[in-house]
Amino acid sequence: MRVQTLMSYWLCLSIAGLIGHVSSWAALADSDIQLGQKIYERSCVTCHGEFGKGDGPAAFYNSAYSAPRPRDFTVGNYKFRSTPSGEAPTDQDIFRVLTNGIPGYMPSFSGLSEEQRWQVTAYLKQFSPDLFRESPTVVDLPDPFIPFSLKSAQQGRSVYLEMECQACHGLDGRGTGATTLMNDLADSRGLQISSTDLTFPQSFKNGGTGQDIIRTVLTGLDGTPMPSYEAQLQGRSEDAWHLVNYVLSLSPTH
């Protein structure tokens, strides 16, 4: 009888403990999102809006009648990805943008702790659950890597012309190609968008390092006219890095 009582106490305790553990574990899983929501509603809401539609009270002023406006997370167009065109970004992609910001338009939120930035990332994904249902595959970077050299940059010029980068970015890379000058380019909101001035890597929205540039070229910027060159540069890893080195060579600091 004594043993039985002891056993039943122990059983109850274990069950209670288990329930407690499981429930706290479950609570932790969605509290990440809830904590992310709290941060979002202080740090992000004025631009990206309460419902993630990129229509916060401050959203209009950034560039008013032209692109870019703050991202509409419900549409599911993520510009800055390491994944193929039309796919969801990885968590790391979202985290990277939160950390680095977007030159000219979104300040860096590295003031949030790393943990907080992951929580916001978890919350952002809730705005387009369909998009994030499947885990995305990352585009492979061309291998082998070719470091910057003037020779490589010179070879990159012919790749630049072959890929017709000049149609938008211009022969001198200043973002004044014929297509840009005709004001035909629009983003997914239908707002007029300009081509990036490639001579000014500090202003590259997806980052200005070689790694950033190759990522942009391969994945494209969804929601903008910048297309993915993944298929065109497939099996041409050297040419891909030559192109990157050519873009780097356009900046006066190089």
Partner: protein
């Protein structure tokens, strides 16, 4: 082929599934880019094997119906839109005439309208293995209007000696935005979500195409005689929808009884 049959037979999938295989083929016959002659004997063979197999597995299922007919346009055809080409005119031509309303013959047969059924079907998971080419040719998308099923692929190609930028969107969301240099590689991507996709070229803004994706095989694109054909339709109540890129929708409620052969004559506007 034996491999396929073993896959199909071993978990004993719902019978309509297997019949649907033929069904898809028969619909593709009505479209311009369906697998044609080389596949026809295979389809016949498959059908034969299937009948044989259905006897063995006890899949006998009848009561499926056929809906066919024509879509016509009555009235004056709107004039084509004339666009002055500012980019690559040496290849695209100085002017492009765009006529989305393609009407043939004295009866006014309307080409490139998509006829489909809306409703709930007694089965899900229709097999789909076919790809749909989106070809950039002469600064236009060929074909201009495509009907496809989820699970199928689109294949984007460029036959022009200039850069094209094929940008396929579902609503505002980019499905695929790819650059294609002359002689560039084709790009293949599977369609997962049903809906109306727009196909645009960001470089040549006058280029336009439409891709309508269904999660079932009961759709058909009208040919140059305005004909459509929906086969193997299970009995039930559906809405028949006709969609044309500029003329919009025509709808009609249908109650399909078992083993019927329905013929419809649908007229815009």
């Amino acid at each position: 082929m034996p491999g396929i049959w073993s896959i199909m037979c071993s978990p004993c999938p719902p019978p309509i599934n297997s019949v649907g295989d033929i069904n898809v083929g028969s619909i593709w016959k009505a479209t311009r880019y369906a697998p044609r002659t080389p596949f026809a004997p295979l389809v016949v063979l498959a059908g034969f094997l299937l009948v044989l197999l259905s006897g063995i597995c006890g899949w006998a299922e009848d009561g499926l119906s056929t809906i066919s007919g024509t879509v016509r346009f009555s009235g004056a055809v709107p004039p084509p839109t004339i666009v002055n080409v500012l980019k690559d005119p040496e290849h695209c031509g100085v002017q492009v005439a765009i006529q989305p309303v393609k009407v043939h013959g004295p009866a006014g047969a309307l080409e490139s309208a998509i006829v489909s059924l809306e409703g709930t079907f007694p089965m899900k998971n229709f097999p789909a293995n076919s790809d749909h080419p989106v070809v950039n040719a002469q600064c236009a998308f060929t074909p201009r209007v495509i009907g496809a099923q989820t699970g199928q692929d689109v294949e984007v190609r460029n036959q022009d000696p200039i850069l094209h930028n094929t940008h396929i969107k579902l609503g505002k969301r980019t499905f695929l935005n790819v650059a294609q240099v002359p002689n560039g590689r084709p790009i293949i991507k599977m369609l997962k979500q049903p809906g109306h996709y727009s196909i645009k070229c960001d470089k040549h803004t006058f280029m336009e195409g439409h891709l309508v994706v269904f999660n079932h095989p009961f759709f058909s694109i009208t040919d140059s005689s305005g004909n459509f054909h929906l086969a193997q339709v299970p009995p039930g109540t559906y809405q028949l929808q006709v969609w044309h890129e500029t003329l919009g929708y025509l709808t009609q409620n249908l109650n399909i009884v078992a083993q019927s052969d329905l013929r419809l004559d649908l007229v815009y506007p």
